[in-house]
Amino acid sequence: MRYLPLTPADRAEMLSVIGASSIDDLFADVPEAARLDGPIRDLPGHASELAVERHMTALARKNMVAGDVPFFLGAGAYRHHVPASVDHLIQRGEFLTAYTPYQPEIAQGTLQMLFEFQTQVASLLGTDVANASMYDGSTACWEAIGMARRITRRGKAILSGGLHPHYVSVAKTMAKYTGDVLDTALPVLGADTDIDALIAKIDDETSCVVVQYPDILGRIADLTPLADACHAKKALLIAVVTEPVALGAIRSPGEMDADIVVGEGQSLGVGLQFGGPYVGLFGCKEKYLRQTPGRFCGQTVDADGKRGFVLTLSTREQHIRREKATSNICTNSGLCALAFSIHMTLLGEAGLRRLAGINHANACRAADRLAKVPGVRVVNDTFFNEFTLDIGKEARPVVRALADRGVLAGVSLGRLYPGEDALANGLVVAVTETVTDDDVEALATALEEALA
């Protein structure tokens, strides 16, 4: 009970101040039938720090660690090198153990950090403004669709086949309850994105078109014609970025006139963590500010005229607007936003561009090498650090078999789109700065043997 500082003598003294004869008196409002008379049976008792660490370490050892093997998984979560100072700084107690900055005079550290984060995210996404974070990319994507409905007062959203299938799933779940109509599609295992098909679908009922950039197969296309087509019908273009490092190399969706840009910020500072916690990025044009979900930090002055920061525009949020709020989100991803922001500060623009360049160069080399494996075809003409292979046979068991050989080969489209035969041979391969030429050689060799 090392985390409980009261001594038995303290407890007795406090009970006497309260005027209670026992702790049970304080639980007198609990109906007798529901009172537990002691610790819940068949659950273990308290344990030492050593014992807990031993137990958790044993569980951790049952996992294959990405850093221990040639590793090529992406599809919405990317392995990048995170500088040591990032994790050190986010573990400072004043960041780690602070609450939401509701008392700004004693939360300027968190607030200034959020203001800097908002600036970095808006710059990266190419949007006028960005909020103080969402849970993750998938929920940010759904919130953007809901926001487009409020702005356009229309209920039909068109989702690109290149949008991450989990993001599509989340949107489908939510749309069942909000009444939005979603027009969805599967990706096609080819070099071209579905931009032309999306343009053809836009009509006067369309609230928004949602397109991922680069898409789930890693393909990149100019979003400008799509933005123009949306705006011609008074619909919004929502762009989704699951790999923010890409925006150090390719034009931002905001530059191509997307109205709302959302993203998964995990690549910078956060780490893989088996899927969470991550950090949702959310930016948009300033004219749509009042319809945005989530928190914003804004600049102001204090009573002495000094610059300071506060949470602002709160009247959109649930704690004030209750059932009329733009979203029910409350807690967001503050600490992950801090990690993102520190990593971005360490990189700076020059570093981000260099990092992006290395990712792309590594991916180009890997694609060229893997294309030489008999039976393997690189599907993409364009990509950043992730591309799709058609390996000529069902990829999911191949990924499984390669894991046994100590190679985590990528994400099979069979895992992402179970039961879709036309996609079953697809393997999505991500190549970041953490991948060495030896890793690529190991993958090529293992793949060659598996396909032989």
Binding site: Y3, P5, L6, R11, A20, L26, V30, A34, G38, I40, L43, A51, V52, L59, N63, A66, F71, A77, S85, I90, R92, E94, L96, A98, Y99, Q103, I106, T110, F115, E116, S123, Y135, D136, Y167, T173, Y177, T178, G248, R251, E255, G275, A303, T312, Q318, H319, N328, C330, N332, S333, G334, L346, L347, A350, G351, L352, R353, A367, A403, L416, E433
Partner: protein, 531 residues
């Protein structure tokens, strides 16, 4: 004798007469810190990369050529920037953080250590399932604890925070109603004292929200609630212990009535900390309840997240829970049930069919929070968790009874409080309100209590000390709050301009909202915009 040659002649420090302005604006250890954009440059980087050519060729014609505007700092400057910023924050590591309803308790560092084990931190969510048995094992083990601690049937682990968990529970209810052919039930009853997330969540899922009044003793008006039940009511959302810090004595009776009328009971579990190990919500007839792992199970709040909001479910709602989930089979293997395998496992685990309402998030939820929460739970064990609730309630009652002679405690006569004590602004001098007490507490070195919530108490001050405070810390806090309250009752004008010793004085929130400045812009751009 040899005379002191250095010129340094130690003497007793003299008392100063006020603080002079400094050249830097700093105040010794309190350091002013500019924005990174004001001290860094787009050419600076704190990261080294391998040398070599990085010419890319597969970007289409989309190379980003325009400036992005991201300032960089060297590593040393980065460490200093964020260290300086951190020192402008209050935190639970610095002192008692009595923010009612938020449960700011000590965050054990063991939890941080285990979450960073490479076997958890460096694992991809889409790795083949047999390469992540340890990660799935953590989820499954934590799920088992949550089910047993709450006396419920199942648990949905993927919700990302409390409000996301609420949404999960409400969607389960909606799915269950639709399955029964009763999708026409559109009304969700929510007590006036509820967290704002409750009505926001219900409205988001397409329900109409109706308020249920509170009685004078601070609890839900059971008679009014029962009278409102009927064929149009889908669910009741109730917080227990409630936001006034009181146990809802009638919850079982309410649950029975709601069930008899064909509805479901959602319990906001934000305050589960007060009853863990003493009461199981399942025994009170609850159908769904989210658990904020960052409250009850001490994962750090991180300045506003990340949270994690698993939802425990009754037998009636469990089949409708979200994907994915885990299931351990007799051979010890932990299966991950995603979209494609739901059918297969519905036969194994449910008599009926599994009818998941779908996916709420990419991947599997807040794994990094699961490892921390599990380490916390294992550390306490069943006996320690019961002690958590007892000490949390003891501490809150101690604060309540120690201050009720000074501050108005509207429900002091309603019996013991649970984990938080509530006071009102009644009795403060004319023109003084809760905010003045709060800002005065800042100068005393404490984070203020929750202000003006719940709405049912005028000028509410909601104090939640939590179980991780010693008696000495509580006594100091009680003394400080008593002192500030006495000053507010006496009309001490110095409180109106408090805080005096924080990094900033009161901030102009009106200015921030009227003319929002939400990002830094280069001075040139600011000047142009002003023209």
């Amino acid at each position: 004798m040899a005379l002191n040659q250095s010129g340094w002649r130690p003497s007793t420090p003299q008392q100063g007469d006020g603080a002079p302005a400094t050249f830097t604006g700093n105040r010794a250890l309190m350091l002013e810190e500019p924005l990174i954009f004001e001290i860094g440059s787009t050419e600076t980087t704190g990261v080294d990369f391998a040398a070599g050519d990085v010419a890319g060729s597969r970007l289409g014609d989309l190379t980003r050529t325009a400036p992005i505007g991201l300032a960089g700092l060297s590593e040393q400057e980065t460490v200093r920037h964020y260290t300086r910023l951190s020192r402008q924050n209050y935190a639970i590591d610095l002192g008692l953080f009595p923010l009612g309803s938020c449960t700011m308790k000590h965050n054990p560092r063991l939890n941080e250590k285990v979450a960073r084990l490479p076997g958890f931190a460096d694992v991809h969510p889409l790795q083949p399932v047999d390469t992540v048995q340890g990660a799935l094992g953590v989820i499954n083990e934590l799920a088992m604890w949550l089910i047993k601690l709450t006396g419920m049937y199942g648990v949905a682990m993927s919700p990302k925070a409390g409000a996301h968990g609420e949404l999960c529970g409400i969607l389960c209810i909606k799915a269950a109603l639709e399955k029964r052919g009763e999708g026409h039930r559109k009304v969700v009853l929510v007590p006036e004292s509820a967290h704002g997330t409750n009505p926001a969540t219900a409205a988001f899922a397409g329900f109409t929200v109706e308020d249920i009044p509170a009685t004078a003793d601070g609890r839900v008006d059971t008679a009014a609630l029962k009278a409102r039940l009927g064929p149009d009511v889908a669910a009741v959302m109730i917080t227990n212990p409630n936001t006034c810090g009181l146990f809802e004595r009638d919850l079982k009776e309410i649950s029975d009535a709601v069930h008899a009328a064909g509805g479901y009971v959602y319990c906001d579990g934000a305050n589960f900390n007060a009853i863990v190990g003493r009461v199981r919500p399942g025994d009170l007839g609850v159908d769904a309840m989210h658990i904020n792992l960052h409250k009850t199970f001490s994962t750090p709040h991180g300045g506003g997240g990340p949270g994690s909001g698993p939802v425990v479910l009754s037998e009636a709602l469990a089949p409708f829970g979200p994907l994915p989930f885990t299931a351990r089979t007799a051979d010890g293997y932990v299966h991950l049930i995603e979209e494609e395998r739901a059918e297969e496992f519905s036969n194994e685990h449910f008599d009926g069919t599994l009818d998941s309402f779908g996916r709420m998030t990419a991947f599997h939820g807040q794994m990094g929070m699961f490892t921390r929460a599990l380490a916390y739970i294992l550390s306490h064990g069943a006996d320690g968790l019961r002690q958590v609730a007892e000490d949390a309630v003891l501490n809150a009652n101690y604060v309540l009874r120690s201050l009720e002679d000074t501050l108005d405690a509207p429900f002091a006569a309603s019996g013991p409080c649970m984990h938080e004590a509530i006071f009102s602004d009644r009795g403060l001098a004319e023109g003084f309100s809760t905010i003045d007490v709060a800002k005065g507490l800042i100068d005393e070195g404490f984070h203020p209590m929750t202000m003006y919530f719940p709405l049912v108490v005028h000028g509410a001050m909601l104090v939640e000390p939590t179980e991780t405070e010693s008696k000495a810390a509580l006594d100091q806090f009680i003394g400080a709050l008593r002192s500030v309250a006495e000053r507010a009752k006496a009309g001490d004008m110095a409180l109106k301009t408090a805080p005096h010793f924080a990094p900033r004085a009161r901030l102009d929130e009106t200015l921030a909202a009227r003319k929002p400045v939400l990002r830094w812009k280069p001075p040139v751009a600011v000047a142009e915009a002003a023209e």
